[in-house]
Every structure is written in structure tokens, then in C-alpha cells.
Symmetry: C2
Subunit: 182 residues, 2 copies
DNA sequence: CTGGCATTTCAGAAACTTCTGAAATCTGGC
DNA sequence: GCCAGATTTCAGAAGTTTCTGAAATGCCAG
């Protein structure tokens, strides 16, 4: 790997982070490289820059495609495929969140719902079911919230996030105006 | 493993999910078991319920302790340690989020900040640095927001989440009243 | 201080994942 | 339809993680 030190440390860091998640080290490195690159890269560019085998790069790119995290493009007069990360970091974040929800959260919600619908035989099962309901309700609340704010424009969302906990004051004011108890 | 089917499928599901994250399968199973159990369990209970070796349970419990996800207790006249998951699912969620931030997000922010402070030599590095700044700002916004709403009581937070994107309407109203443009 | 139970550590075995080079397949231009 | 270059697949090697039983350690009660 012959990269500018600044890029190298970023790439290596994402390799490590990737392997801490389910994603493997080389996939992390490939994405980090595409993310900082100032132009789309082809598979051979990645082989050269990251010093891994051609086939490894191929598999890594397929994995990233399955996450919908890369854009494909072509250069005129060049048959090779060129890969890049989306320009907009918000878009990357949202895609990542969507995929993780789909792969990790939704199956869990399904398992929980199935369990909640079953008829408990023992007191032990009854308690387990109550616990699963608590977990279900929490996850459901969080995902519903996310699906909802996900529709907002990045600008609006950003404004909202910047406010942080201060939105609560607005709620209090509203409740006062409407005449409910805070 | 001799568990009621309802509990068994939950435990197995969390085993699989665990291994999809960095957490390993047995750690996931142990936590799922503790979560649904109607009383604190000791290591031997877990060995029996989950059918894994004593030493494996011991390591799994240590791992969970390092995540601050288990409570320890004792029974009168029994020297063994008993483990349980906190009652409150919000608390579990917050602990999980805190630990993941500490282990995964903070090191990344540090790497990004260091890279942003360096002096870029080439145009390539300059572009990479700009990209890293975008990523940094996004992560920073999200974590700052989280740290802020994290302080709210679960009840307030719940109210806020239930509103979802509707809080934006409040913002618009406020902006109108204050006399700014929406 | 000691005996006995509880827990942790550890080294190696088993299982799993990642990585590679070589072969197979695909694809567009002639 | 064939060639050349591009990409994917694959089987096995290398590397990593997980899991275990056995031994070591810790710790309380008497």
C-alpha cells in the first residue's frame, strides 16, 4: 500500500472498524478508499492502492454493491467499471441506516412479534413474553421515529438535530398554549 | 438446550444477531437468556439452559460486564454470583448506545480530527481532507444530538419520538411567531 | 489456616472467515 | 462468431475466533 499518510491512516482505521462490525476489514478499506478518492476508481486501482488480490477486491465490491453504498460509472473508451461513493454524506448515512434496519432490526421485530402472538404455557414463558413486548415496543418506537424523520430534507433534519433537547421547550410552550399539562 | 420454544427461538435469534455484530454468538445467547429470565441466573443455570461449557459462560459474562449490561446479585446463603439484565429496556438501550459510541464512534472522530488538522501536501490529500471533514461534521452532529436528548427523561424522550417528523411543524410555527423565514 | 466450592485462565482443538491464484465466465467490438 | 480484456467463481491455504476441559486461582466458613 503506497498511499499518502493522511489517506493511509483513514483507510486502515476503517479497516479495523469494519471488522469490529460484521463487515470485513478489506471491505472497510475499499469503502474508505472510494470515499476519499477524488475520482471514481476501478478494481485494478484498488488492487494497487490497497495491496490486496484482484479477487478480494472483486468480492469486496460485490459486498458494497449489496449494501447499495457504491455508484458505478464508465469512462469513455474504457470497458472497466469505475466505482465511487456518493458525494453526499447524508445519503451514505441514510443508505447505511436503511440497510442495517432491513438486515438486523426487521428480522428481530418479526421474531419478537411471532413470540408475542404465541400462547404462553408457563409463568416463565409469560414473563419472557412480557419482556419481549417491552423490547418490541422500544424498537418499534425507534424505527417508526426514524422512518418518519427520514422523510425530512437534510436541511430540515440538520436544523432539528442542531436543536437537540431544546425542542422540548417548544413542546412545553405548545402544551401551555393548547392548555394541556406539560 | 432444553428451553420453552418461545424462549428458545428468542435466544437463538439473538445468538445469530450477535454474531452479525462484533459480539459473538454465545454472548448474544447469554444476554437474551438473562433478559427474558424471571429471576437472576448463575453461571451454572446458564450452562444448563444454553448447553455451553462453563468456561465459555464465564467469558461471556465477563464480556457483558465490560459492556455494563448486567447486574450482579447474591442469594442469602449462596456464594455464587447471580446475573440479570436491567428491568428497564430504555436503560439497556442507553447503555448499549453509550458503549458503542465510546468504542466505535469516538476513535473514529479522533482519527478524523487528526487527519483534518494535518497539512495536505497534494491535491489528492486536499480532497481527501475535505471528504473527511464532511464525515466528521455529520458524525459530530449526530453524536452531539444524541448526547443532548440522552439527558431527557424516558417519558419526555418517548413523547418526542412519538411526534416523529411532526416537530417540524412546531419549528415552523415558532419561526413564524419569532418572525424568521421557515 | 484449611477445605471446599466458585470462578478464571489457558493452551490447544474445532470451527469459521478471509484471502489468494488459477480457471471459468462474461461482454463488447470487430 | 471470435478475440481480448474484464470480471467472477472457486477450492484450498492462511489466518482468526470461538470453544473446551483441565489446571490454577480466589475466597469464604469454620
Amino acid at each position: 500500500m503506497e498511499l499518502p499518510p493522511l489517506i493511509q491512516s483513514f483507510v486502515l482505521h476503517f479497516g479495523e472498524m469494519g471488522s469490529r462490525w460484521g463487515i470485513n476489514r478489506t471491505v472497510g478499506q475499499i469503502y474508505a478508499m472510494l470515499f476519499v478518492a477524488d475520482r471514481p476508481l476501478n478494481a485494478d486501482d484498488l488492487v494497487e492502492k490497497l495491496g490486496m488480490s484482484r479477487s478480494n477486491v472483486s468480492m469486496g465490491l460485490k459486498e458494497l454493491e449489496s449494501w447499495r453504498l457504491v455508484r458505478l460509472s464508465h469512462l469513455p473508451g474504457d470497458r472497466r467499471e469505475y466505482f465511487s461513493a456518493p458525494e453526499d454524506v447524508w445519503q451514505i448515512f441514510m443508505t447505511l441506516a436503511d440497510e442495517r434496519l432491513r438486515r438486523e432490526v426487521e428480522p428481530t421485530l418479526t421474531t419478537l412479534r411471532d413470540a408475542i402472538l404465541a400462547t404462553p404455557i408457563s409463568a416463565e414463558e409469560q414473563h419472557a413474553q412480557a419482556r419481549m413486548r417491552q423490547m418490541h415496543d422500544l424498537i418499534d418506537l425507534l424505527t417508526t421515529w426514524f422512518a418518519d424523520v427520514r422523510k425530512l430534507s437534510p436541511a430540515t433534519l440538520q436544523q432539528l438535530l442542531k436543536m437537540g433537547g431544546a425542542v422540548v421547550r417548544l413542546l412545553e410552550i405548545k402544551d401551555k398554549v393548547v392548555g394541556r399539562k406539560a
